[in-house]
């Protein structure tokens, strides 16, 4: 064959030549010193070019720590948070509020099955104080247990069946329950530690039928809107802008819930309980906080990374909520713990624990 041109040499070096086509090329190289020399030269240049490009590294330019949410248009962070106040209180008290006109084009479709399952778990687990009658009603009417389906596959199917924006709107309700579930689980678990660490205790009244008012503290967030959002929250809590309707808890389905940004709910729930809110961070920032290494669960893909106090939280989606791998540096050693929604099978948790890797 004729000499190998530059493009061909590159293809060879980059492994882009199908194996079936290699033998004639190899044969030519074996007998052609010129091409061998050019190949060597190209290899050297390629290696140097790689080296040069790799000197520019993300680690050299840390990003500011700001919450990162994928949205289709700019969010009214503060306004959403204020609306969230009315709904989250309502949800916790067994009410649901109907709100309209809340712009929310956030995340894509979620599995309807997982949403319903999460709703069930949300109402059965330890939640915000609710009227005593509710849990029984919910338990009696809870949907029959279903075999868990792999979240990703069914979510993709759901996504394929719906236009994305529709899916995005439908998502939030279930996620409210999800987020509420998980944060309450972890908050309950950490409550004593946090109130001790928090300094001045927050005044959170746990009377079932009155609005919960809390002093808001935002920890580690550098979003300016957050502070204003905090102040704005107090007003809506006492002056509900929309009529509240009392509805049975089990009817908190996807269709009924108002469309809200989950992250605001998430954050607000925590604020209500006097806990700092987790702040979403970039991968590099998470690595930085853990001194360059991070544990992940092999085989799962995280949906986001957060920081809460000393913890870096790697959040994984589950059919029934979220699994959080919370890790931190303690005296220079990386320690971690796995936080799962209530009712998550212990043996599954053990299996996941076994898959935690650097």
């Amino acid at each position: 064959m004729s000499h190998l041109d530059e493009g061909r040499l590159q293809e060879l070096l980059d492994g882009e030549i199908p194996s079936a086509e290699l033998p004639p090329i190899q044969a030519h190289l074996a007998s052609c010193a010129e091409c061998r020399a050019r190949l060597d030269e190209a290899r050297g240049i390629g290696a140097e070019a790689d080296r040069l490009i790799e000197t520019i590294d993300l680690a050299d330019a840390p990003a500011r720590v700001v919450p990162r949410v994928v949205t289709a248009r700019p969010r009214a962070w503060i306004r959403n948070l204020a609306w969230a106040a009315t709904v989250v209180i309502a949800a916790g008290l067994g009410y649901s509020a109907r709100t309209t006109g809340v712009p929310n084009l956030t995340r894509p479709a979620v599995n309807d099955e997982s949403v319903a399952a999460a709703d069930k778990k949300a109402v059965n687990g330890p939640v915000l104080p609710a009227p005593p009658a509710e849990p029984e009603t919910a338990a009696a009417q809870a949907p029959p247990p279903r075999t868990p389906a792999p979240t990703r596959r069914t979510a993709t199917r759901a996504a394929a069946n719906q236009p994305t924006l529709e899916g995005a709107r439908n998502l939030t309700a279930g996620s409210v329950a999800n987020a509420a579930k998980l944060e309450l689980e972890t908050a309950a678990a950490k409550e004593t530690r946090q109130t001790a660490a928090a300094g001045e205790p927050e005044s959170v009244q746990k009377k079932p039928k009155s609005p919960v008012v809390a002093r808001l503290r935002l920890d580690e967030t550098k979003v300016a809107g957050a502070a204003e959002g905090g102040k704005a929250l107090v007003a809506p809590a006492s002056v509900a802008p929309t009529p509240l309707e009392r509805r049975p808890v089990d009817s908190l389905t996807t269709k009924d819930q108002p469309r809200l940004d989950t992250r605001s709910n998430d954050a607000f729930l925590n604020l209500m309980r006097g806990a700092p809110a987790p702040v979403e961070v970039t991968f590099s920032e998470a690595l930085r906080r853990l001194n360059g290494s991070i544990r992940l669960i092999e085989g799962l893909v995280p949906v986001r990374l957060e920081v809460l106090g000393p913890d870096v939280r790697v959040v994984y989606p589950l059919a029934a909520g979220e699994l959080v791998l919370a890790e931190r540096l303690e005296n220079g050693t990386l320690t971690y713990r796995l936080l799962a929604p209530a009712g998550f099978p212990a043996d599954s948790l053990e299996r996941l624990r076994a898959r935690v890797r650097d």
Binding site: V69, V70, P108, F283
Partner: protein, 166 residues
């Protein structure tokens, strides 16, 4: 964030930001463009995600470049401060200086060549580079060959330069 976009995000976000950072020299701008790109993916989920994401992102870079007059912060006085450095080996150079020189060398490439190189650095195969940049697959090899050569030449030519690049 759950579902297919979360998967896309987890898989490509860091790579996209890194490519954009190398392309623009500005971390914040890279993050913003990445966010905008993923937002568009939410609105219109792509079938062939990696080429799509990177193509959209690169288009955004080009559009922004045309719209605004940007003060080029990447060019740094790299030799004027160190009169004897041109005699020294790479290793003694300050890393920041080295980075600045690589950037200058990258700037010496044509946009197409530069982008092909940066995509390759993110692990793209030729097919995806072709799809992302709108090249014929057969042209990718020659593009990369030229790009790699020019980068190395430009970098080496930076040695010994005493003038401020402007």
């Amino acid at each position: 964030m759950t579902g297919p976009i979360a998967d896309l995000f987890a898989e490509y976000h860091e790579s996209l930001v890194r490519m954009l950072y190398r392309r623009t020299g500005d971390r914040d701008r890279a993050e913003e463009i990445a966010q905008e790109t993923f937002a568009r993916a939410v609105a219109a989920p792509p079938r062939n995600p990696r080429p799509w994401l990177f193509a959209v992102a690169l288009n955004l870079v080009r559009e922004e470049g045309r719209r605004t007059v940007r003060h080029d912060r990447r060019l740094v006085l790299y030799k004027a401060e160190q009169p004897e450095a041109f005699e020294g080996p790479d290793e003694t150079m300050d890393r920041g200086e080295r980075i600045a020189r690589v950037r200058t060398a990258l700037d010496a490439l044509t946009e197409r060549d530069r982008e092909a190189l940066l995509l390759k650095a993110e692990g793209f195969n030729y097919e995806d580079i072709a799809a992302t940049l709108g090249l014929a697959r057969g042209a990718v090899g020659t593009t990369l060959s030229r790009a790699r050569r020019r980068l190395v030449e430009a970098y080496r030519a930076g040695e010994g330069a005493r003038d401020v690049a402007s």
